[in-house]
Symmetry: C2
Subunit: 327 residues, 2 copies
């Protein structure tokens, strides 16, 4: 469930565009002389406007701003803001499909480390949402997400990631329990012999519906008294394929738990906060399922995500994330 | 290009539905007593109506018929018609997405023989058209085309077919000639050593845009003075994977030539016409690119498709195909 941060009554896009320009120009006359462009921005005003508008409203504001002032809002934000705040706001200003296409493309540059981003985009979206992201990818990069994933990877990791980004899963809730049992057995065989029949593993996680896979994972646990991810710990693999497979299983089995435990907890508890990951999760899920992720986070850490963000971040970046969290 | 067989001025769906019912009931009073249902159908009237309506109009007629007479038009056609004519008309009455989903599902039952059907659906549709077929597959079969293809195949054939039905190709015409050259080299290496690095072959044909692949195939031919399909003839493979790979290359390289030469010519020249294949191509392409296929057919056989159909088929089935061909 999304956290509702949108203002009930909003000004017109033209009024918002004018207010943004004003925020960019605070003290600008003096500052342009002494500090260069961007210094005199009223960041709090920018947050107060944009964090409280939904995707459709933000798109309207962007279009109107460009028509009124003959410059792109995204480009102006890039020149006025900086650091983590700039990166977060520039992701936020994009529509959800375009944003995910941009994030996926950036992850491609270091896919051995960033493969969880690709897995999240492939597995935490519905089939329709994933197609919309892939359509945006075509428009932006004149090629498909599939060919970039395939060209940037090899071996089993390629098979897995390519299957995940390609597949158009059935989104229904129908579950075939007989199939779940027989495929839990196939997974067990594949994991047990240590050599891993990755073809079968990839076929199953890459084609079955999420509801069906949850049933398969559950059958596996009932039968073998441990989860698939635990069982995979004992298999050996020199590449990051097995880690990617465990990430996939976790993301499909329980999205909220995955984002709370595997992503946000790791991004905020280790020495030095991983701001890029924190931004990605908060911005990408703010209008979708952030409430569920926050609930799962609190359950596992006994503190709220707001408390952690307040402690681990600062300045306008903190204000912006807090605004997206509804604080 | 489609052959325009649609009437310029059409009756309302209710008038068409009434005319169809009348065609089903010709001599029915007498026939029901002596010959059972279906015997007294005026097939020529059915053809005259349905072959001259486009997909949207046929859908409207189906809906209206069901509302007016409380029975499905498809079911009534199945009970009134028979043989190849029945199968052709029952495919025709469906919308293009649903029709292809049904045809793909039927091919799944004997995929070692019917894999060309899956390849055609995957490669002769645009990315948007393929997604629409996959959506229809979800609705009809409560599972994805991907999982049925994967579950029904193994080894390299599975990798290839799964890649083809999954991928959401970039549909643009942009071509990277450097990439085409380097991937033509990869294909050459894969084919030359006889063992076939199928992973690379499948990655290339399964992810690149059709425009890019045409350029790659063309580079291969320029460099090695023979086509990829000819080069693949010399590789050995005990399964039908290599044949499927050649079918894929042909279908992507030149759709019209593929349907004319590989599909229609084979379906009509061997001892005994393959009516199922003939029906599939004519019905599936009548509203799309049949004109181009007919042109390619005539170029390669020196006779028109109409002439061959007139010679090789008979009765209502022949009348119906001829009507779809615009005769």
């Amino acid at each position: 469930m999304a956290i509702n941060t949108v203002s009930q009554v909003v000004p017109s896009p033209a009024e918002d565009a004018a207010a943004l320009l004003k925020a960019f120009q605070v003290n600008n006359d003096l500052c342009q002389l002494f500090c260069g462009p961007g210094w005199g921005t009223d960041e709090q005003a920018v947050i107060a406007i944009l964090a409280r508008r939904d995707a459709t409203q933000r798109k309207q504001i962007s279009l109107t701003y460009e028509q009124m002032y003959n410059e792109g809002l995204l480009q102006r934000l890039q020149s006025e803001l900086s650091g983590d705040f700039e990166r977060a706001m520039c992701q936020w200003i994009l529509g959800p499909d375009e944003r995910q296409a941009v994030i996926a493309n950036a992850a491609m540059k270091c896919i051995q480390e960033e493969y969880p981003v690709i897995i999240e985009i492939a597995c935490a979206n519905s089939s329709e949402e994933l197609i919309a992201v892939k359509k945006a990818y075509h428009v932006l990069y004149k090629c498909s997400l599939e060919e970039d994933v395939a060209a940037g990877t090899t071996g089993n990791l390629r098979s897995l990631l390519l299957a995940l980004v390609s597949t158009y899963r059935y989104d229904g809730n129908d579950v075939n329990m007989g199939l779940a049992k027989s495929e839990a057995k196939i997974v067990h065989e594949a994991v047990r012999n240590g050599t891993l029949d990755h073809q079968e593993l990839v076929r199953i996680v890459g084609t079955r519906s999420k509801a069906q896979l949850k049933a398969t994972f559950s059958c596996f646990k009932d039968e073998h008294s441990r989860s698939i991810t635990k069982a995979l710990l004992h298999a050996s693999d020199p590449t990051c394929y097995l880690r990617a497979l465990r990430t996939t299983v976790r993301c499909i089995a329980d999205e909220n738990k995955y984002f709370a435990k595997q992503v946000l907890r790791n991004a905020t508890r280790e020495a030095g906060t991983d701001e890029d990951t924190l931004t990605r999760v908060v911005v990408m899920h703010a209008e979708k399922d952030l409430k569920g992720i926050c609930g799962a986070f609190q359950k596992r850490t006994s503190v709220t995500l707001e408390q952690v963000i307040a402690k681990e971040t600062s300045g306008d970046y903190r204000s912006f994330l807090m605004a997206l969290l509804g604080s």
